[in-house]
Symmetry: C2
Subunit: 158 residues, 2 copies
Amino acid sequence: MTVRKTASRPVPAEPPEPDLDQAVLRSMVGYNMKRAYLTVRTDFVASLGHLALNPSQFSALSLIVANPGVSQSALARALSVERSAVVALIDNLERRGFVSRDPVPGDRRSYALRATLAGIRHCEQAVDAIRAHEERAFARLSPAERATLVELLSRVEG
Amino acid sequence: MTVRKTASRPVPAEPPEPDLDQAVLRSMVGYNMKRAYLTVRTDFVASLGHLALNPSQFSALSLIVANPGVSQSALARALSVERSAVVALIDNLERRGFVSRDPVPGDRRSYALRATLAGIRHCEQAVDAIRAHEERAFARLSPAERATLVELLSRVEG
């Protein structure tokens, strides 16, 4: 068997088989959410690769830029992650000079997080890259359809 | 500070703070997908807990039930996972008596996967549990809205 590789799509390792019956899985809203999310996420992750930001790092940086002085616990709640995970995220962003941890007067256990100028610029580049990614990932949806999708998703989440 | 725990919602570790500005994140369709997906997934995982199935094990079992004789590679393609991951999934399902690996005449490297009666019954219980989970998770969407959501997601994925 000769297999020719092309750049445009992966070559199956075996002769083509008929599509599987996926009716039960596809009848589940959640399965469709998962598959679409994973598809989009792949391009999303790639779109931030040149900035060395993973999705969690971008979310954290973006929220710190928009909310100067935010605490680590407020950030954890907004991101719905454990506080320990936020500490690791901030360690990384601080080490790279993107955010600073400033002491909070009267509260020795807390820090006020602020983005540095380098952090703000890095975030702006990331937002540009994500806008371009979203144009690709949601190209088959009109702006109105994208708005409908967001509205439906927001009610699922709420 | 006195903190009273209630069963209904987690108690914040610190006094309430104003909501963070999340406008940039929320303007991204992908971020809304992620948040809704993670919300739904938590209840989905819990809904299968009593059957000791994780989402991947359920997907694999469901496809084997619907496609008797399917190969591991066809299953890997349908699930968009690596073949090695499918092998681990099938090892687990076979050990528990839910699927059998039957030899394929003329192809010593391949197996035909079939669900056992116990596997079919376990899958039916899982589907019932997932239907109940979806009623909870998507309670705020009408049947028409759920169909719209699935249709939009399918175009994102395609």
